[in-house]
């Protein structure tokens, strides 16, 4: 056996041992992000918030999670997500939304698993609705107590339940409006950056134009003229005005990446525009684009709650901003401004911290500094 082996196999072996070690671009970003404890805490908070939002009817509600009633199993809590999902049998049997007493009265054999907190975000819990419990206090008597953890509104609605269900709205607003903004921003940015030339000029002018729109003024004006504004209107407007930052970053990334060797290689191999854009460039340009998206989520939540707080936005449904609005009109009920205010504050801060962490993790200048 000779000391010198075939150089080709050697190289192949070296590559074979190296390849699994090499992390993808995303893996590298995640590794750098993970080193920042505060950013990780913010991420944990947002994940927790998302879980609370997703499972809100199981945390606070007046409808059982599982009910065994007249020989079948039902999931009445689903109606908190969407009204129609309430099983008609409870309507036929005239439950009128009050489950605990009715279940026992109409079927002694029935049993149910209840949410952690028996409170409703949409109405006042009545006397004896839950055996042995008084009706929710109203007005000044609604200070936080063991039953109403964060107090009640002047009309006797539980603040805790509204906060928990409000997470769902915050989640929805953040992700839908930024989903719209990302779709528009990434498409325009990608087209401008990839094709360049007159496409770029045209789209860049459009970006400049939209950037000049004073968004809060526009949102207020549009919401005011819509007959019955819903949260979907607001999300669409936020999305359609908030995509410029995303588009500019995507454009920059595409311009940078399209001239790299691997893209030329793909082109030489005969890959079409669509394939190059979606398979080769887009995955590598998305990480930096997450930064404006995260900041955008924070500002979307901020704006939607501001509209509710001002009382001119969409009405109905549990929302942090609506609670603040009620708090402003009843300033002496401190729990109405403390808890929802803190919820908005912490959520906005968490998204900002995540955005900053991502920025640090994806910024090439900082990356070199860390080496």
């Amino acid at each position: 056996m000779t000391a010198v082996s075939d150089p080709n196999t050697n190289q192949a072996q070296a590559e074979a041992t190296q390849t699994p070690q090499r992390r993808s671009y995303w893996g590298e970003v995640w590794l750098r992000y993970r080193r920042r404890p505060i950013a990780m805490m913010a991420l944990a908070y947002v994940v927790l918030l998302a879980l609370v939002g997703l499972f809100s009817p199981m945390i606070a509600g007046t409808k059982p999670i599982v009910a065994y009633y007249k020989g079948s199993y039902y999931f009445p809590f689903m109606s908190y997500y969407y009204d129609r999902w309430e099983n008609p049998i409870f309507f036929r049997d005239k439950f009128r939304g009050e489950f605990p007493q009715n279940l026992k009265k109409k079927d002694p054999q029935s049993w149910a698993i209840w949410p952690l907190v028996f409170q409703d975000p949409n109405r006042r819990v009545r006397k004896e609705e839950w055996p042995g419990r008084d009706a929710n206090p109203i007005g000044e008597n609604g200070a936080p107590s063991r039953i109403n953890l964060f107090g009640t509104t002047p009309n006797g609605l539980d603040v805790f339940a509204q906060l928990v269900h409000g997470c769902r709205l915050a989640l929805l607003v953040g992700f839908v409006s930024m989903g719209i903004a990302s779709a528009v921003g990434i498409t325009f940015g990608a087209l401008a950056g990839y094709f360049g030339g007159w496409v770029d000029i045209l789209l860049s002018r459009l970006i400049e134009l939209v950037m000049c729109l004073p968004s809060i003024v526009l949102i207020l004006a549009v919401v005011s003229v819509i007959e019955r504004p819903t949260v979907w209107h607001v999300m669409v407007i936020i999305g359609l005005t908030g995509w410029t930052g995303i588009a500019r970053l995507t454009r920059g990334e595409f311009m940078k990446l399209r001239s790299l060797d691997y893209v030329s290689a793909a082109r030489a191999l005969g890959a079409g525009h669509t394939r190059i854009i979606f398979r080769h460039i887009l995955p590598n340009s998305l990480a930096p684009v997450l930064v404006p998206i995260t900041f955008g989520i924070a500002s979307a939540i901020l704006t939607e709650n501001a509209l509710r707080f001002l009382g001119i936005g969409p009405v109905g449904g549990a929302s942090w901003g609506s609670l603040l609005n009620e708090g402003q009109r009843n300033l002496e009920l401190w729990w109405l401004i403390l808890f929802p205010g803190a919820a908005i504050f912490f959520t906005v801060m968490a998204y900002n911290l995540i955005g900053e962490g991502l920025q640090a993790a994806t910024d090439p200048r900082l990356r070199e500094g860390a080496k």
Partner: protein, 329 residues
């Protein structure tokens, strides 16, 4: 430079057209007019007859299609006439003139305060980088930066208006006290000053936090450079290095930032003015929005958009002024 500015101005004008046309189309194509909305609700006693309504519609040009009305509005604008407010029945320009004073009082004083405070604070934090005082300030500013202004406003109102009721420290909303007219000139100024504290605080803390962080992060970049080490090696004291050598080189992004905050001087306080009952442009816009006062909404939206565009343009000009390397072609 001139060509660049002309191009920008042209884009600006196009933008204004697009914004106003968009708003006009939106407003006009949505069911219900301010006449059916506000008048009908205001006087329940006297129901409007269809003939009256038609007459009013004609008087306010609400019977035209949106593009005809938009054309009329543009023609009026060319003559310097923004139309009459549907609610107040007075010219929009007069209304704006009457409300711009309080807004400028609030925003200009906030502008001055934030820059007077943020520069020394930013330099202080650079100098004490890594120490406990700097870390504390950093965290504090980060939290202030994320604290929504309406949340802060309502918390402050709770404490200073409600809890301190009856003491001399109570700070009420509004701009003047009820007995303002009977006060002496100095008393009047003090009265306004007292009402100004809370809105000013809310208006300023976010910008202050942002600017300070901005200055600090820019300074961090600069003080790592070789010429700063040279200056230090020469034996210059910290103050001179920070102020004369480092800070000057962070002026470029800073000046741009100032330019970008300028439009906020007029439109930035829509929510705040509403909360504190401050009789400025923001409150006026809010009222216009609640009453669907088309002409007033249009006038104010035009003004806000124009201010934003001018601010951006100004930022560009300032940019070229402070940095001789930048030329616009």
């Amino acid at each position: 430079m001139t060509a660049y500015l002309l191009r920008r101005a042209l884009i600006g004008v196009v933008t204004l057209f697009v914004i106003t046309a968009l708003l006009f189309a939106l407003i006009r194509n949505i069911p219900g007019t301010p006449l059916t909305l506000s008048l009908g609700e205001a006087d329940l006693g006297k129901k409007q007859s269809p003939e009256d309504l038609a007459l009013l519609n004609k008087a306010y040009g609400l019977d035209k299609t949106w593009y005809e009305a938009y054309g009329d509005w543009l023609l009026g604008l060319a003559r310097g006439d923004m139309g009459d407010s549907l609610r107040y029945r007075t010219p929009v320009s007069g209304l704006i003139r009457r409300h711009i004073g309080p807004t400028l009082l609030l925003s200009v004083s906030s502008f001055v305060i934030t820059y007077v405070l943020s520069i020394p604070l930013g330099l202080y934090m650079t100098r004490n980088g890594g120490r406990l005082s700097e870390r504390t300030l950093s965290v504090l500013f980060y939290m202030l930066y994320s604290l929504p202004v309406y949340v802060a406003a309502i918390w402050l109102l709770y404490y200073f208006y409600l809890r301190l009721q009856g003491t001399i420290w109570q700070l009420p909303p509004g701009m003047v006290s009820d007995n303002h007219a009977e006060m002496s000139p100095i008393g009047k100024i003090l009265d306004i000053g007292k009402h100004l504290i809370l809105p000013l605080l809310c208006y300023s803390y976010g910008v202050l936090a942002f600017d300070t962080r901005f200055i600090k992060s820019n300074m961090e970049e600069v003080i790592r450079q070789d010429y700063i080490r040279t200056a230090r090696a020469k034996g210059l004291d910290d103050g001179t290095i920070l102020w004369k050598h480092a800070f000057r080189n962070t002026l470029i992004p800073f000046v741009t930032l100032i330019g970008l905050t300028l439009p906020g001087l007029i439109s930035g306080a829509v929510i705040l003015e509403q909360i504190f009952n401050w009789p400025g442009i923001g409150s006026l816009f809010f009222e216009a929005v609640s009453f669907r006062d088309y002409t007033l909404i249009m006038g104010l939206a035009l003004m806000f958009s124009a201010a934003t565009l001018l601010g951006n343009l100004l930022a560009d000009i300032l940019y070229a002024l402070v940095d001789p390397r930048i030329t616009y072609k």
